[in-house]
Subunit: 238 residues, 2 copies
């Protein structure tokens, strides 16, 4: 909410979500928005580009900015949403059980994945996400201790992202993810309520700060019947 254009973006998102502008409507023209928000056109255009990137509008030359039906997709797991936000959106009762919170020398395949030296210390965190009494997700996080010091069990039970962004004031910027289906391991069987499922959906994420440092690798293992991933992809024309 600090820049002009993100604050205008937020206001327009509100108006769309409140139904002031409905799917199929066009927003006021860029010229009009300039007047409404007392700003220049390029600034308005930055706000509208943000809306387009996030699936709220589609800009059509000669016509205007058409409002899309954003409600159909609630984007529950898309982007960098953390588990806590996800659970809040789902509105279900949930818990997080911390099974392991240790510091280890970076070793084996994980060190390679995190691009770090032999001497770097890594947090290893193993947690299960329990929804409506059932262990649904097994999260295995590896986090660089030099960047994120002071983790506690309590922090891990709530939201590590909260701690990183609000306490440590670090900015999480982007993530690369891979989604595949794999056969369950012994650990999966011990820590999840698999109900006979023989496979889990595995999301492997590499998470970066805004200064481009890779500080976290996460393996998130989901019971397949409870898995959902939603994506909004805009085409980059070459």
């Amino acid at each position: 909410m600090k820049n002009k254009y993100t604050s205008i973006y937020s206001k327009l998102v509100l108006l769309i979500e409140e139904g002031k502008y409905e799917p199929g409507d066009t927003l006021p023209s860029e010229h009009e928005l300039c007047a409404q928000f007392d700003t220049s056109r390029e600034t308005i255009r930055k706000s509208l580009n943000l809306l387009a990137q996030n699936g709220y509008i589609q800009k059509v030359r000669g016509k205007g900015s058409v409002v899309l039906d954003h409600s159909k997709f609630e984007f529950p797991v898309s982007g960098l949403t953390s588990f806590k936000e996800l659970a809040n959106q789902l509105g279900k009762d949930f818990q997080t059980h911390v099974h392991e919170l240790v510091v280890q020398q970076a070793d084996s395949p994980v060190r390679e994945r995190l691009n770090c030296k032999k001497t770097d210390n890594l947090w290893k965190i193993t947690r299960t996400r329990v929804i409506a009494g059932e262990g649904i997700i097994l999260d295995k996080d590896y986090i660089r201790q030099d960047i994120v010091p002071g983790l506690t069990k309590s922090i891990c039970e709530n939201s590590i992202y909260d701690y990183i962004e609000n306490q440590l004031q670090l900015e999480i910027s982007f993530a690369k993810k891979e989604i595949v289906v794999e056969t369950v391991t012994e650990e999966d069987q011990q820590l999840l309520d698999l109900q006979g499922h023989q496979q889990v959906v595995v999301i492997r994420s590499y998470v970066y700060l805004s200064d481009a440092t890779l500080f976290q690798f996460t393996e998130s293992r989901h019971r397949p019947d409870k898995f959902q991933f939603v994506d909004f992809a805009r085409r980059t024309k070459v």
Copy 2:
């Protein structure tokens, strides 16, 4: 390649992919790039923003544009990549078998999904994707005939997207996708080589043109052991 900023973007992508700039390097400063490409700073910034959105660089204030390790992720299924592009990237021998290509009145749940009238005609296309001799993917497409006329079996065996973009000169702009895991249907068992798998990964996509019209709904059913989805997600700071 028509705009200045997309052409500069393409040139920079090339330089990065050729290794002229390696991961960890910084690109020349915006000021320098202005001189190199004989253009204004805002134009250079548009190019750099495109690079950032697509995971090639991370811009760091006070430092510069840091090149990321883009090679690790080949983005095989991300975005709006069509099957043909995917297969080309995988470099495997593949075929497409067309089982059904019919026009039907929009009915049942599909009409609702495509937001179209009872009287609209829809193509229904059922295809299997065969990789290295095995039926791996079952694609069921529903496409508005008023927007995409003239489909033939031959087009469906190659690339419908090619036909839409190059023959019909329509611009595909964005898609909303949902990924879930479901139990196999009888149709899956008939048309795929499931090798005993009891579940498939289902990608449901809603595809839009650049004028915001929804013209296609696709259900893509993947054998789980051959499924992979890669995602690059940049955080939108509110």
